[in-house]
Amino acid sequence: MKTPKGLVRWALLLVAGAASMVTAGCGVAPGPSIVRDGNAQVGKKLIVSYGCGACHTVPGIYTARGLVGPPLSFYSRRTMIAGELPNVPDNLVRWLMNPPAIEPETAMPDLGLSEEQARDIAAYLYTLH
Protein backbone atom coordinates (compact mmCIF):
# COMPACT_ATOMS: atom_id res chain seq x y z
CA MET A 1 0.00 0.00 0.00
CA LYS A 2 1.29 3.37 -0.96
CA THR A 3 0.44 6.23 1.32
CA PRO A 4 0.70 9.66 -0.26
CA LYS A 5 3.58 11.48 1.40
CA GLY A 6 1.63 14.70 1.58
CA LEU A 7 -1.15 12.96 3.47
CA VAL A 8 1.29 11.85 6.15
CA ARG A 9 2.61 15.37 6.44
CA TRP A 10 -0.91 16.66 6.81
CA ALA A 11 -1.73 14.11 9.47
CA LEU A 12 1.41 15.05 11.39
CA LEU A 13 0.57 18.75 11.15
CA LEU A 14 -2.94 18.14 12.40
CA VAL A 15 -1.72 16.03 15.31
CA ALA A 16 0.85 18.70 16.21
CA GLY A 17 -1.80 21.38 16.01
CA ALA A 18 -4.18 19.43 18.19
CA ALA A 19 -1.41 18.72 20.67
CA SER A 20 -0.49 22.39 20.91
CA MET A 21 -4.15 23.24 21.55
CA VAL A 22 -4.26 20.72 24.37
CA THR A 23 -1.06 21.95 25.99
CA ALA A 24 -2.23 25.56 25.68
CA GLY A 25 -4.99 24.64 28.10
CA CYS A 26 -2.50 23.41 30.69
CA GLY A 27 -1.75 25.64 33.62
CA VAL A 28 0.60 24.86 36.44
CA ALA A 29 0.60 21.22 37.43
CA PRO A 30 -1.47 21.00 40.58
CA GLY A 31 0.16 19.50 43.62
CA PRO A 32 1.11 20.35 47.18
CA SER A 33 3.05 23.59 47.34
CA ILE A 34 6.04 24.45 49.47
CA VAL A 35 4.04 27.47 50.62
CA ARG A 36 1.47 26.68 53.27
CA ASP A 37 -2.07 27.02 51.80
CA GLY A 38 -0.63 28.51 48.64
CA ASN A 39 -2.30 27.73 45.32
CA ALA A 40 0.12 28.21 42.43
CA GLN A 41 -2.64 28.24 39.81
CA VAL A 42 -4.44 31.06 41.56
CA GLY A 43 -1.09 32.76 42.04
CA LYS A 44 -0.43 32.70 38.33
CA LYS A 45 -3.68 34.55 37.69
CA LEU A 46 -2.90 37.06 40.44
CA ILE A 47 0.50 37.76 38.90
CA VAL A 48 -1.29 38.73 35.70
CA SER A 49 -4.04 40.78 37.32
CA TYR A 50 -1.78 42.70 39.73
CA GLY A 51 0.65 43.49 36.94
CA CYS A 52 3.84 41.91 38.33
CA GLY A 53 4.85 41.56 34.70
CA ALA A 54 5.03 45.35 34.35
CA CYS A 55 8.46 45.14 35.98
CA HIS A 56 9.38 41.45 36.09
CA THR A 57 9.89 38.81 33.48
CA VAL A 58 8.13 35.77 34.90
CA PRO A 59 8.64 32.41 33.19
CA GLY A 60 5.41 30.73 32.22
CA ILE A 61 3.47 33.99 31.92
CA TYR A 62 3.52 35.36 28.42
CA THR A 63 2.52 38.92 29.27
CA ALA A 64 5.09 39.20 32.07
CA ARG A 65 8.05 40.57 30.16
CA GLY A 66 8.97 43.57 32.31
CA LEU A 67 12.47 45.02 32.28
CA VAL A 68 12.34 47.22 35.38
CA GLY A 69 13.18 44.74 38.11
CA PRO A 70 15.00 41.39 38.11
CA PRO A 71 13.62 38.43 36.16
CA LEU A 72 12.06 35.84 38.45
CA SER A 73 13.45 32.79 36.69
CA PHE A 74 14.65 29.86 38.83
CA TYR A 75 13.03 31.56 41.78
CA SER A 76 12.99 28.44 43.94
CA ARG A 77 16.75 28.19 43.59
CA ARG A 78 17.56 31.75 44.59
CA THR A 79 18.95 32.36 48.04
CA MET A 80 18.06 35.99 48.74
CA ILE A 81 14.96 38.16 48.44
CA ALA A 82 15.62 41.81 47.49
CA GLY A 83 19.24 41.20 48.40
CA GLU A 84 18.52 41.17 52.09
CA LEU A 85 16.14 38.40 53.25
CA PRO A 86 16.76 34.65 53.09
CA ASN A 87 14.53 33.20 50.39
CA VAL A 88 12.12 31.13 52.47
CA PRO A 89 8.34 31.06 52.02
CA ASP A 90 7.41 33.19 55.02
CA ASN A 91 9.87 35.91 54.05
CA LEU A 92 8.66 35.91 50.46
CA VAL A 93 5.05 36.26 51.60
CA ARG A 94 6.01 39.12 53.91
CA TRP A 95 7.96 40.82 51.10
CA LEU A 96 5.13 40.46 48.59
CA MET A 97 2.60 41.94 50.99
CA ASN A 98 4.50 45.15 51.61
CA PRO A 99 7.95 45.58 50.08
CA PRO A 100 8.59 49.16 51.26
CA ALA A 101 8.03 48.05 54.88
CA ILE A 102 11.10 45.81 54.57
CA GLU A 103 13.20 47.88 52.19
CA PRO A 104 12.15 51.55 52.41
CA GLU A 105 14.08 52.57 49.30
CA THR A 106 12.66 49.87 47.05
CA ALA A 107 10.78 50.74 43.91
CA MET A 108 8.56 47.69 44.33
CA PRO A 109 5.15 49.01 45.34
CA ASP A 110 2.79 47.78 48.00
CA LEU A 111 0.16 46.14 45.81
CA GLY A 112 -2.32 45.69 48.63
CA LEU A 113 -2.15 41.89 48.50
CA SER A 114 -3.89 39.92 51.21
CA GLU A 115 -1.82 37.26 52.95
CA GLU A 116 -3.72 34.56 51.08
CA GLN A 117 -3.00 36.21 47.74
CA ALA A 118 0.68 36.63 48.64
CA ARG A 119 0.83 32.92 49.51
CA ASP A 120 -0.68 32.00 46.17
CA ILE A 121 1.81 34.16 44.28
CA ALA A 122 4.71 32.77 46.34
CA ALA A 123 3.47 29.26 45.54
CA TYR A 124 3.70 30.05 41.84
CA LEU A 125 7.16 31.58 42.13
CA TYR A 126 8.42 28.43 43.89
CA THR A 127 7.29 26.35 40.92
CA LEU A 128 10.02 28.11 38.90
CA HIS A 129 12.80 25.58 39.46
Binding site: W10, L14, Y50, G51
Partner: protein, 357 residues
Protein backbone atom coordinates in the same frame (compact mmCIF):
# COMPACT_ATOMS: atom_id res chain seq x y z
CA UNK B 1 -4.09 -1.49 -1.58
CA UNK B 2 -6.03 1.67 -1.90
CA UNK B 3 -8.92 2.11 0.46
CA UNK B 4 -10.92 4.13 -2.03
CA UNK B 5 -12.51 2.77 -5.20
CA UNK B 6 -10.43 3.84 -8.14
CA UNK B 7 -12.59 6.70 -9.22
CA UNK B 8 -13.90 7.75 -5.86
CA UNK B 9 -14.06 11.49 -5.46
CA UNK B 10 -11.59 11.95 -2.58
CA UNK B 11 -8.95 10.05 -4.49
CA UNK B 12 -9.46 12.02 -7.62
CA UNK B 13 -9.36 15.25 -5.71
CA UNK B 14 -6.20 14.21 -3.96
CA UNK B 15 -4.49 13.01 -7.11
CA UNK B 16 -5.18 16.15 -9.08
CA UNK B 17 -2.75 19.00 -8.70
CA UNK B 18 -5.61 21.42 -8.26
CA UNK B 19 -7.20 19.26 -5.59
CA UNK B 20 -4.02 19.09 -3.57
CA UNK B 21 -3.32 22.79 -3.63
CA UNK B 22 -6.92 23.51 -2.77
CA UNK B 23 -6.83 21.21 0.23
CA UNK B 24 -3.63 22.89 1.36
CA UNK B 25 -5.42 26.20 1.36
CA UNK B 26 -8.69 25.06 2.83
CA UNK B 27 -7.55 22.95 5.77
CA UNK B 28 -5.54 25.69 7.52
CA UNK B 29 -8.47 27.99 6.87
CA UNK B 30 -10.78 25.58 8.65
CA UNK B 31 -8.34 25.37 11.56
CA UNK B 32 -8.41 29.16 11.85
CA UNK B 33 -12.18 29.32 11.81
CA UNK B 34 -12.76 28.81 15.57
CA UNK B 35 -10.58 31.87 16.23
CA UNK B 36 -13.29 33.99 14.66
CA UNK B 37 -15.45 33.32 17.69
CA UNK B 38 -12.88 34.89 20.01
CA UNK B 39 -13.41 38.54 19.16
CA UNK B 40 -15.85 40.08 21.56
CA UNK B 41 -14.08 43.25 22.74
CA UNK B 42 -13.99 45.15 19.46
CA UNK B 43 -16.54 43.55 17.21
CA UNK B 44 -18.93 45.06 14.70
CA UNK B 45 -21.22 42.13 15.46
CA UNK B 46 -21.59 43.30 19.05
CA UNK B 47 -23.46 46.55 18.40
CA UNK B 48 -24.85 48.71 21.17
CA UNK B 49 -26.06 51.85 19.42
CA UNK B 50 -28.41 52.82 16.58
CA UNK B 51 -25.62 53.51 14.08
CA UNK B 52 -23.74 50.37 14.99
CA UNK B 53 -26.92 48.29 14.71
CA UNK B 54 -27.35 49.38 11.09
CA UNK B 55 -23.75 48.51 10.37
CA UNK B 56 -24.22 45.17 12.09
CA UNK B 57 -27.23 44.38 9.88
CA UNK B 58 -25.20 45.22 6.80
CA UNK B 59 -22.34 43.10 8.07
CA UNK B 60 -24.64 40.10 8.51
CA UNK B 61 -26.04 40.53 5.03
CA UNK B 62 -22.55 40.59 3.59
CA UNK B 63 -21.52 37.57 5.61
CA UNK B 64 -24.57 35.54 4.62
CA UNK B 65 -24.35 36.46 0.94
CA UNK B 66 -20.66 35.68 0.80
CA UNK B 67 -21.19 32.36 2.60
CA UNK B 68 -23.90 31.40 0.11
CA UNK B 69 -21.67 32.36 -2.82
CA UNK B 70 -18.79 30.37 -1.35
CA UNK B 71 -20.90 27.27 -0.72
CA UNK B 72 -22.35 27.41 -4.24
CA UNK B 73 -18.86 27.77 -5.68
CA UNK B 74 -17.63 24.73 -3.78
CA UNK B 75 -20.64 22.63 -4.76
CA UNK B 76 -20.05 23.51 -8.41
CA UNK B 77 -16.40 22.66 -8.03
CA UNK B 78 -17.13 19.25 -6.53
CA UNK B 79 -19.83 18.63 -9.15
CA UNK B 80 -17.41 19.46 -11.95
CA UNK B 81 -14.75 17.20 -10.47
CA UNK B 82 -17.24 14.33 -10.10
CA UNK B 83 -18.66 14.79 -13.58
CA UNK B 84 -15.36 14.54 -15.42
CA UNK B 85 -13.17 11.94 -13.76
CA UNK B 86 -9.66 11.21 -14.93
CA UNK B 87 -6.60 13.28 -15.60
CA UNK B 88 -6.37 16.48 -17.59
CA UNK B 89 -4.62 14.61 -20.41
CA UNK B 90 -7.69 12.49 -20.98
CA UNK B 91 -9.87 15.51 -21.56
CA UNK B 92 -10.14 17.92 -24.37
CA UNK B 93 -8.96 21.42 -23.44
CA UNK B 94 -11.72 23.27 -21.65
CA UNK B 95 -11.83 26.08 -24.20
CA UNK B 96 -13.02 23.94 -27.10
CA UNK B 97 -16.65 24.65 -26.65
CA UNK B 98 -19.45 25.48 -24.28
CA UNK B 99 -19.19 26.90 -20.82
CA UNK B 100 -19.45 30.57 -21.76
CA UNK B 101 -22.75 30.69 -19.92
CA UNK B 102 -20.94 29.96 -16.67
CA UNK B 103 -18.64 32.89 -17.22
CA UNK B 104 -21.37 35.31 -18.24
CA UNK B 105 -23.91 34.37 -15.57
CA UNK B 106 -21.75 33.02 -12.79
CA UNK B 107 -18.75 35.25 -13.29
CA UNK B 108 -20.37 38.52 -14.31
CA UNK B 109 -24.11 38.80 -13.84
CA UNK B 110 -24.64 37.21 -10.45
CA UNK B 111 -21.68 39.00 -8.77
CA UNK B 112 -22.86 42.21 -10.40
CA UNK B 113 -26.29 41.83 -8.88
CA UNK B 114 -25.00 40.90 -5.41
CA UNK B 115 -22.29 43.56 -5.27
CA UNK B 116 -24.62 46.24 -6.66
CA UNK B 117 -27.19 45.41 -4.01
CA UNK B 118 -24.54 45.68 -1.29
CA UNK B 119 -23.22 48.91 -2.79
CA UNK B 120 -26.70 50.42 -2.84
CA UNK B 121 -27.26 49.24 0.71
CA UNK B 122 -23.95 50.79 1.70
CA UNK B 123 -24.88 54.13 0.14
CA UNK B 124 -28.21 54.19 1.94
CA UNK B 125 -26.40 53.28 5.15
CA UNK B 126 -23.89 56.09 4.72
CA UNK B 127 -26.65 58.60 4.10
CA UNK B 128 -28.15 57.87 7.47
CA UNK B 129 -24.90 58.96 9.15
CA UNK B 130 -24.47 62.68 8.60
CA UNK B 131 -20.79 62.75 9.38
CA UNK B 132 -19.99 66.31 8.36
CA UNK B 133 -23.38 67.66 7.55
CA UNK B 134 -24.09 71.42 7.71
CA UNK B 135 -27.48 70.62 9.20
CA UNK B 136 -25.55 69.66 12.31
CA UNK B 137 -24.42 73.21 12.89
CA UNK B 138 -27.37 73.91 15.16
CA UNK B 139 -26.14 71.21 17.50
CA UNK B 140 -22.56 72.09 18.34
CA UNK B 141 -20.27 69.19 19.19
CA UNK B 142 -20.20 68.09 22.81
CA UNK B 143 -16.69 66.71 22.92
CA UNK B 144 -13.52 67.38 20.95
CA UNK B 145 -11.31 64.35 20.49
CA UNK B 146 -7.78 64.98 19.23
CA UNK B 147 -5.64 62.11 18.04
CA UNK B 148 -1.98 62.10 19.05
CA UNK B 149 0.75 59.57 18.40
CA UNK B 150 -0.37 57.38 20.25
CA UNK B 151 -3.15 58.50 22.56
CA UNK B 152 -6.39 60.47 22.56
CA UNK B 153 -6.87 63.94 23.96
CA UNK B 154 -10.47 64.48 25.07
CA UNK B 155 -11.85 67.98 25.60
CA UNK B 156 -15.30 68.44 27.02
CA UNK B 157 -16.65 71.57 25.37
CA UNK B 158 -19.21 72.39 28.05
CA UNK B 159 -22.32 71.02 26.33
CA UNK B 160 -24.82 73.69 26.78
CA UNK B 161 -24.38 74.24 30.50
CA UNK B 162 -21.79 71.68 31.58
CA UNK B 163 -18.21 72.26 32.65
CA UNK B 164 -15.27 72.52 30.28
CA UNK B 165 -12.19 70.46 30.95
CA UNK B 166 -9.60 68.25 29.32
CA UNK B 167 -8.92 64.59 29.95
CA UNK B 168 -7.49 61.70 27.94
CA UNK B 169 -8.10 58.23 26.56
CA UNK B 170 -11.40 57.70 28.35
CA UNK B 171 -14.61 59.27 27.09
CA UNK B 172 -17.65 59.24 29.33
CA UNK B 173 -21.04 59.74 27.70
CA UNK B 174 -24.57 59.58 29.06
CA UNK B 175 -26.40 56.41 28.05
CA UNK B 176 -29.18 56.64 25.42
CA UNK B 177 -28.27 60.15 24.37
CA UNK B 178 -26.68 61.09 21.06
CA UNK B 179 -23.34 62.82 21.58
CA UNK B 180 -21.53 64.65 18.80
CA UNK B 181 -17.77 64.32 18.75
CA UNK B 182 -15.53 66.63 16.79
CA UNK B 183 -12.51 64.72 15.55
CA UNK B 184 -9.15 66.38 14.95
CA UNK B 185 -5.53 65.35 14.98
CA UNK B 186 -2.38 66.89 16.39
CA UNK B 187 -0.05 65.11 14.00
CA UNK B 188 -0.77 62.40 11.42
CA UNK B 189 -4.03 60.86 10.21
CA UNK B 190 -5.74 58.74 12.84
CA UNK B 191 -9.11 57.07 12.67
CA UNK B 192 -11.67 57.01 15.45
CA UNK B 193 -13.40 53.66 15.74
CA UNK B 194 -15.50 52.20 18.52
CA UNK B 195 -17.04 49.18 16.75
CA UNK B 196 -19.89 48.71 19.22
CA UNK B 197 -21.05 52.30 18.71
CA UNK B 198 -20.35 53.39 15.14
CA UNK B 199 -18.18 53.03 12.06
CA UNK B 200 -14.77 54.58 11.48
CA UNK B 201 -14.20 58.28 10.93
CA UNK B 202 -10.76 59.61 10.04
CA UNK B 203 -9.03 62.38 11.96
CA UNK B 204 -7.42 64.48 9.26
CA UNK B 205 -4.93 67.34 9.79
CA UNK B 206 -6.62 70.69 9.29
CA UNK B 207 -10.04 69.22 8.58
CA UNK B 208 -12.38 68.62 11.53
CA UNK B 209 -14.72 65.67 11.13
CA UNK B 210 -17.76 64.84 13.19
CA UNK B 211 -19.34 61.68 14.44
CA UNK B 212 -22.48 61.17 16.46
CA UNK B 213 -22.38 58.25 18.86
CA UNK B 214 -25.01 56.83 21.12
CA UNK B 215 -24.84 53.86 23.45
CA UNK B 216 -28.00 51.97 24.36
CA UNK B 217 -26.55 50.18 27.34
CA UNK B 218 -24.43 51.43 30.20
CA UNK B 219 -20.96 49.95 30.03
CA UNK B 220 -17.47 50.32 28.64
CA UNK B 221 -16.81 50.07 24.92
CA UNK B 222 -13.30 49.65 23.65
CA UNK B 223 -12.18 51.52 20.57
CA UNK B 224 -9.04 51.63 18.53
CA UNK B 225 -7.24 53.87 16.11
CA UNK B 226 -7.99 52.24 12.79
CA UNK B 227 -5.74 54.12 10.42
CA UNK B 228 -2.11 53.12 10.61
CA UNK B 229 -0.37 56.02 12.34
CA UNK B 230 3.10 54.82 13.26
CA UNK B 231 4.95 52.45 15.50
CA UNK B 232 2.44 52.11 18.33
CA UNK B 233 -0.71 52.34 16.21
CA UNK B 234 -1.84 48.98 17.56
CA UNK B 235 -1.55 50.23 21.14
CA UNK B 236 -3.63 53.36 20.53
CA UNK B 237 -6.85 52.27 22.17
CA UNK B 238 -9.58 54.23 23.82
CA UNK B 239 -12.47 53.52 26.07
CA UNK B 240 -15.95 54.98 25.78
CA UNK B 241 -17.89 54.57 29.00
CA UNK B 242 -21.64 55.04 28.88
CA UNK B 243 -22.96 56.08 32.29
CA UNK B 244 -26.53 56.40 33.58
CA UNK B 245 -27.43 60.14 33.57
CA UNK B 246 -26.97 60.76 37.30
CA UNK B 247 -23.62 58.99 37.31
CA UNK B 248 -22.56 60.92 34.23
CA UNK B 249 -23.38 64.24 35.87
CA UNK B 250 -21.46 63.23 38.97
CA UNK B 251 -18.48 62.25 36.82
CA UNK B 252 -18.58 65.61 35.02
CA UNK B 253 -18.59 67.41 38.33
CA UNK B 254 -15.63 65.49 39.74
CA UNK B 255 -13.68 65.63 36.51
CA UNK B 256 -13.96 69.42 36.23
CA UNK B 257 -12.34 69.90 39.66
CA UNK B 258 -8.61 70.55 40.03
CA UNK B 259 -6.36 67.67 41.06
CA UNK B 260 -6.87 66.31 44.57
CA UNK B 261 -4.51 67.63 47.23
CA UNK B 262 -2.40 64.80 48.63
CA UNK B 263 -3.31 63.58 52.10
CA UNK B 264 -0.74 60.89 52.93
CA UNK B 265 2.94 61.69 53.60
CA UNK B 266 4.01 59.62 50.58
CA UNK B 267 1.62 61.43 48.29
CA UNK B 268 2.76 64.83 49.62
CA UNK B 269 6.37 63.93 48.82
CA UNK B 270 5.26 62.50 45.49
CA UNK B 271 3.60 65.75 44.51
CA UNK B 272 6.80 67.66 45.28
CA UNK B 273 8.78 65.33 43.05
CA UNK B 274 6.15 65.43 40.32
CA UNK B 275 5.81 69.20 39.99
CA UNK B 276 9.54 69.90 40.31
CA UNK B 277 10.64 67.17 37.91
CA UNK B 278 10.40 66.99 34.14
CA UNK B 279 6.88 65.51 34.38
CA UNK B 280 5.30 68.96 34.37
CA UNK B 281 6.94 69.85 31.06
CA UNK B 282 4.55 67.52 29.28
CA UNK B 283 1.69 66.81 31.67
CA UNK B 284 -0.95 68.95 33.32
CA UNK B 285 -2.42 68.49 36.75
CA UNK B 286 -4.88 71.33 37.16
CA UNK B 287 -4.35 73.28 40.35
CA UNK B 288 -0.58 72.67 40.35
CA UNK B 289 2.31 74.28 38.46
CA UNK B 290 2.34 71.22 36.17
CA UNK B 291 0.81 72.53 32.97
CA UNK B 292 2.51 70.76 30.04
CA UNK B 293 0.37 69.99 27.04
CA UNK B 294 2.44 67.44 25.11
CA UNK B 295 1.15 64.44 27.04
CA UNK B 296 -2.20 63.39 28.48
CA UNK B 297 -3.81 65.54 31.17
CA UNK B 298 -3.27 63.74 34.49
CA UNK B 299 -5.62 65.77 36.68
CA UNK B 300 -7.77 62.68 37.34
CA UNK B 301 -5.44 59.90 36.25
CA UNK B 302 -6.28 57.96 39.43
CA UNK B 303 -9.85 57.38 38.28
CA UNK B 304 -9.00 56.06 34.84
CA UNK B 305 -9.16 52.36 34.26
CA UNK B 306 -6.10 51.99 32.05
CA UNK B 307 -2.71 53.50 31.33
CA UNK B 308 -0.78 54.18 28.12
CA UNK B 309 -3.90 54.77 26.01
CA UNK B 310 -5.90 51.92 27.49
CA UNK B 311 -3.23 49.30 27.12
CA UNK B 312 -2.23 48.43 30.69
CA UNK B 313 -4.41 48.26 33.79
CA UNK B 314 -4.07 51.33 35.98
CA UNK B 315 -2.52 49.89 39.15
CA UNK B 316 0.53 50.60 41.29
CA UNK B 317 2.68 48.10 39.44
CA UNK B 318 2.04 49.32 35.91
CA UNK B 319 2.08 52.99 36.90
CA UNK B 320 5.50 52.62 38.57
CA UNK B 321 6.85 50.68 35.60
CA UNK B 322 5.37 53.18 33.16
CA UNK B 323 7.06 56.14 34.88
CA UNK B 324 10.48 54.60 35.09
CA UNK B 325 10.56 52.50 31.92
CA UNK B 326 7.76 53.48 29.55
CA UNK B 327 9.83 52.43 26.55
CA UNK B 328 9.75 48.81 27.67
CA UNK B 329 5.95 48.88 27.77
CA UNK B 330 5.26 50.97 24.66
CA UNK B 331 8.45 51.39 22.62
CA UNK B 332 8.44 54.59 20.61
CA UNK B 333 5.93 56.43 22.79
CA UNK B 334 6.74 60.08 23.47
CA UNK B 335 6.98 59.26 27.18
CA UNK B 336 10.70 58.78 27.85
CA UNK B 337 12.30 56.39 30.30
CA UNK B 338 12.90 58.23 33.58
CA UNK B 339 15.46 56.05 35.32
CA UNK B 340 16.92 58.72 37.62
CA UNK B 341 14.44 58.49 40.46
CA UNK B 342 15.10 56.38 43.52
CA UNK B 343 12.62 53.65 44.31
CA UNK B 344 11.20 55.78 47.10
CA UNK B 345 10.68 58.81 44.86
CA UNK B 346 9.04 56.61 42.28
CA UNK B 347 6.59 55.09 44.73
CA UNK B 348 5.84 58.51 46.23
CA UNK B 349 4.91 59.74 42.76
CA UNK B 350 2.76 56.65 42.23
CA UNK B 351 1.02 57.38 45.54
CA UNK B 352 0.39 60.97 44.45
CA UNK B 353 -0.91 60.11 40.98
CA UNK B 354 -3.10 57.25 42.17
CA UNK B 355 -4.96 59.55 44.57
CA UNK B 356 -5.76 62.01 41.76
CA UNK B 357 -9.30 60.73 41.44
Amino acid sequence: MNIYPKYALPNRLWNSRLGKSTLRLVLPGLLLLPLGGCTVVQSTLNASGPAAHRIETMQWWMLILFCIATVVMWLLYVWAAAKNPGSLEEHAPSDTGGGQGWIVYGGLLIPLVILSALFAGGLVLMQSFPIHDPSHSDTPPNILVIGHQWWWEVRYLGDPSGPKFTTANEIHIPVNQPITLELETADVIHSFWVPALHGKVDMIPGHPNFIRIEANHAGAYQGQCSSYCGKEHALMRLLVIADPPAQYQAWLKVESQPGAEPATPEAVLGKQVFVSAECSACHTVRGTPASGVLGPDLTHIGSRRYLASNVYPNNNAYLAAWITHAQSLKPGALMPDLPDYTGKQLLDMVAYLRQLK
